[in-house]
Symmetry: C2
Subunit: 125 residues, 2 copies
DNA sequence: TCGATAGTTCAATAAACATTGAACATAGGA
DNA sequence: TCCTATGTTCAATGTTTATTGAACTATCGA
């Protein structure tokens, strides 16, 4: 029924939940890929992550990433567009997201799923 | 038999394990307390954390913190002295530990166990 | 040598977690 | 209107996790 899934407010974002979310390799890869893509487009669709796992498993991880405040989902027709909640994260925990992302980038070849995170060509309206 | 418990080398420290370790409120409080204490003394004994949980549960969390490379245990007689592996963490993931610690400090009143982390008077030889 | 102190290890338990496939809902295009 | 594409939800499964208390080990000091 809910047009838009639930998201916590900025103030509701909690540090342990954020760290726990980022500690899962699939979720870290999702966040990493969203961050990679940010220069090109701030949003990606669920199907852009299909290299990482199956549909229903991804839906599970997307829900966790939303619940902890790391990303936001916008419903548009039959698609869901996801983007990082960069400003909210930065306001709550300054420097944290960038520190995690640069750590992940540094270890990209040692983290199982990051190499799959190639830039996706984005040409949607 | 092992005089000194096992610790990973600097290169063996893995990002997901570190983040997972820090996502637990008790372990985050242990790391936070170790960091607080650093100006005074770089080491604390297990019993200095007794406000956080029971002995055997603490031993469990200490083992996880050692296994992921966040801290080091030095055995001295009947005591174990723990300290943060700051330099190793900084070398592997620059800025990460400080970002987490300052995030925790910012939220200290919202994180259940951090207020218990008062400075402990250290006067041991 | 005895007793107290400091921690670890073990077994048991309950809760949370990740993963899978099947069923379902919704929107868009032929 | 039907078919297809996109994602979510649900139930089932097996794994990992945190927590507890009891038993154990090792060291220090009287």
């Amino acid at each position: 029924m809910s047009r838009t899934p639930h998201h916590p407010t900025r103030e509701q974002i909690e540090l342990p939940m954020v760290l726990d979310c980022l500690s899962d390799p699939i979720r870290l890869a999702i966040v990493y890929q969203l961050a990679q893509q940010e220069r090109v487009s701030s949003e990606l669709r669920c199907s852009d992550f299909s290299a990482l796992s199956g549909k229903s498993n991804l839906a599970y991880h997307f829900a966790k990433l939303r619940d902890c405040g790391l990303m936001q989902t916008r419903v548009a027709g039959t698609n869901r567009f996801m983007r990082l909640r960069r400003e909210d994260l930065e306001a709550r925990f300054p420097g944290l997201l960038d520190a995690v992302l640069s750590s992940a980038a540094k270890d990209a070849d040692r983290l199982p799923l990051l190499p799959e995170c190639e830039l996706v060509e984005v040409d949607r309206k």
